[in-house]
């Protein structure tokens, strides 16, 4: 079956959920790929929506230098701001300033 392609299947569990990769099917074209995606990722009524994409259409990035670079980036994430002590100090000073 050398003309068969591999199709990646993404599924949405419930309305509003993100599309999540489920697996892949072999099929000669998009029409049958869709039917087979329904069978493997939807025949038990377990999916709200399916996307079927030829594997070659996917461009992958898994380079750690790009995705997990070494320098501190905590300024980009909520966990990078710890205000507990500053807040306590500010409240204490404000209490002293009250008439």
């Amino acid at each position: 079956m050398s003309s068969e392609q591999v199709w990646e299947v993404f599924r949405q569990e419930a309305e509003g959920d993100p599309m999540v990769h489920g697996g892949s099917v072999n099929a000669p074209d998009a029409e049958l790929a869709l039917h087979y995606a329904r069978e493997f990722y939807g025949r038990r009524q377990e999916s709200h929506r399916l996307w079927v994409v030829p594997r070659e259409a996917i461009t992958e990035l898994d380079d750690p230098d790009l995705l997990k670079p070494p320098f501190d980036r905590s300024f980009k994430r909520p966990g990078g701001y710890i205000i507990k002590h500053k807040l306590e100090a500010a409240k204490a000073r404000a209490a002293l300033d009250e008439p």
Partner: protein, 312 residues
Amino acid sequence: MDQQARPTQPSGDAEAFYAHVGSGGKVEADDWMPDEYRAAVLKFVEMHANSELMGVLPERDWILRAPNLKRKLALTSKIQDEVGHAQLLYRVAEDLGKPRDAMLADLLAGKTKFHNVFHYPTRSWGDVGIIAWLVDAAAIVSQQALRDSSYAPYARTMKKICWEESVHIMHGRDVVLTLMNGTDAQRALVQEALDRWWGPLMQMHGPPTDPARDKDLHWRIKAKNNEQLRQEFLSIYVPRIRELGLRIPDPVLRYDAPSGRWEYTEPDWDELRAVVTGHGPASQQRLEFRRLNFADTQWVRDALGGSAAAAA
């Protein structure tokens, strides 16, 4: 490299790789991996895929014979799921570099193996219950342990398979319970089936292996050894079998509290070896059935491959 396998990255360091998988790290299809690891995973997954495909045949005998509409749907659906599992597993194996046609050809030529339990005949509706309940249960004990495999595509597939298999065991247990609550003849069907299937079930997880030499364990392709799996199966299912009034055909079988393990008659490992190398009671008949079916349907696969190939 087959067009379906992803392009590999430049070669890496085997020592670092094994340290990575040994400490719980994961591997994806297009990551660099040592040839040995790739071959070991492929062999493991291929045998699993073959087993799902051959495992369809014992139950297919009964697909037209289910005694009511509910059982007809449940059994057809179960067998459908096994075919689906074969697809999922062959897909994982294909992405390691071996085309599906090559795997099917090797299976049909007797070059690759499938699990022992699928080499035995079925004789009655009692077998249908016992297989769906206990054979699937023994399989799920292995499969749950594989959900943490170092080879991530396999681990993810095992999660899906375990979820789907849980329904089968419930169906199997329901069939057995219904028979046990039925007539004397129905209870006898179950006991007789259990008498025949107990031996293969005890052999199913394989002989105890030396952990130091078990590469699949070392590289965390699998996470538990054969004996651990068998003990787990016995702990859960012996009580459930006995509480129905069924006799397990092993007079030695008992739980030894001080050692925390089940004692049992040593399974016939010679029988296991003979069976998985194609000398089981139904091995050749089933392989021949698949060969004929495969030959009969080749024109369809060729037709899908494009008009040029369809001129057969």
